[in-house]
């Protein structure tokens, strides 16, 4: 029986490319998602063998999706795909019980290999030791939404939590990152790799 996979990446052309790579190796791509909430609902509905998740998905990061999967659907294995060769992210990936953390710089064979190994139940990530990211998962969820421009009340609706809870996560994130305003919070979180979003500033000459 062929391996069933759900792929989540906000970049449609990257997602389509990964689907083409996996299909060519007889791995069945049963669903594709473009953000975290969609990924979580697809995985819940389709219960694939493996979920291939971009670590920095919009609205709910791949890490948070993996954490939910590990807790609620332990039979589904996760492979984290990331642009960032960052030990803190690797540690967080281990913490949410991802089977592997793969860089986009690695070749197509590495993706196929990681998915097959995950489906067999192999775990290739060292158990989490050392420092992860400076914010808790709850705080990261909130900060990511704020960085994307959600207001407290919109973030609360999105996360199904009370606005007061969201506000308190935001406040503790601000304390931890020593930020005094929302824009300082967003800047500190982006600079310290807590949330990741490509910026025009990274293009030399802009």
């Amino acid at each position: 029986m062929s391996i069933r996979v759900v792929i989540a990446d906000d970049h449609g052309v990257v997602r389509g490319g990964m689907a083409a790579i996996l299909s060519a190796s007889d791995i069945q791509v049963v669903g594709e998602a473009c953000d975290g909430p969609e990924a979580w609902s697809l995985v819940r509905r389709l219960q694939p063998h493996v979920a291939v998740l971009d670590a920095s998905l919009p609205r709910l990061s791949g890490l948070e999706v993996a954490r939910r999967i590990a807790r609620r659907l332990p039979d589904v294995k996760t492979v984290m795909i990331s642009m960032y060769d960052d030990p803190a992210w690797r540690t967080e990936a281990a913490r949410v019980e991802a089977a592997d953390y793969l860089l986009k710089g690695e070749g197509p064979e590495a993706l196929v290999d990681a998915v097959l190994a995950a489906a067999r139940g192999e775990k290739r990530l060292e158990p989490a030791r050392g420092k992860g990211l400076p914010l808790s998962a709850r705080e990261r969820e909130v900060v990511q939404l704020i960085a994307e421009g959600y207001t407290i009340s919109a973030a609360a609706v999105h996360l199904c939590r009370a606005p007061a809870t969201v506000r308190s996560h935001k406040a503790s994130a601000m304390r931890k990152l020593k930020a005094h305003s929302t824009s300082e919070l967003v800047r500190a979180a982006t600079e310290r790799g807590v949330v990741r979003m490509p910026r025009a500033k990274e293009v030399p000459g802009v």
Binding site: D10, H11, G12, V13, V14, G16, G17, M18, A20, I21, A24, C34, I81, M83, L102, L103, K104, G105, E106, G107, P108, A110, L111, I146, A147, E148, G149, Y150, T151, S181, T182, S183, E184, V186, R187, T190, M197, P198, R199, A200, K201, E202, V203, P204, G205, V206
Partner: protein, 183 residues
């Protein structure tokens, strides 16, 4: 057959793009992992279209100007920013496609660029005042603070913020602020 060269620093992405374009009938004649190698490759192979990532080692807007004239450049980027698209157009590229596009949109854009068209999102023109306001928003100033600094009424500042929201396709002032701060 449309001859394409793909330049992107991520092997997984490069390979995937190649498979997508082959499926739509393009001939992928070469791939490169950084700007220097990419430039050498398009000079040598003279493809119809080069798919070029903007954020990779050695890449810059300036470099786009040194592409051979007959090679048409479709810029593929993770930064979906209409102002960046403007700069890319000014630097002489023929298209700008966010990576969030679907495989189908990628194929369509490639064919259109190959056929001599340019493919850009609708490009907003910002006035000097709007540029100013955008910078103040990025540094976290409130409307009242901006009004004081720029010697305008709060109403006028609000008006500019509204215009910016419309031009940049942002739904709320918070979203606009967050976007400006990220730039």
């Amino acid at each position: 057959m449309t001859r394409v060269v793909i330049v992107d620093d991520h092997a997984l992405v490069r390979d995937g793009l190649g498979r997508i374009l082959s499926r739509y009938g393009c001939e992928v004649v070469g791939q490169a992992a950084d700007a220097r190698e990419g430039l050498a490759l398009i000079n040598e192979l003279r493809p119809d279209v080069v798919l070029w990532d903007l954020i990779m080692p050695g890449a810059s807007l300036e470099l786009l100007r040194s592409f051979p004239k007959e090679v048409r450049a479709l810029i593929l980027t993770a930064v979906d920013d209409p102002l960046l698209a403007c700069e890319v157009a000014r630097a002489g590229a023929h298209g700008f496609l966010p990576k969030t596009s679907t495989p189908e949109q990628l194929a369509e854009a490639t064919f259109r660029v190959a056929a001599g068209e340019t493919v850009f999102p609708s490009l907003p023109e910002l006035t000097e005042r709007e540029q100013q306001i955008l910078e103040h928003l990025a540094s976290g100033r409130t409307n009242t603070e901006m009004a004081a600094v720029l010697n305008l009424s709060v109403k006028t500042v609000e008006h500019h913020v509204e215009r910016l929201k419309t031009k940049l396709g942002k739904e709320s002032a918070a979203e606009l602020r967050a976007w400006a701060a990220r730039r």
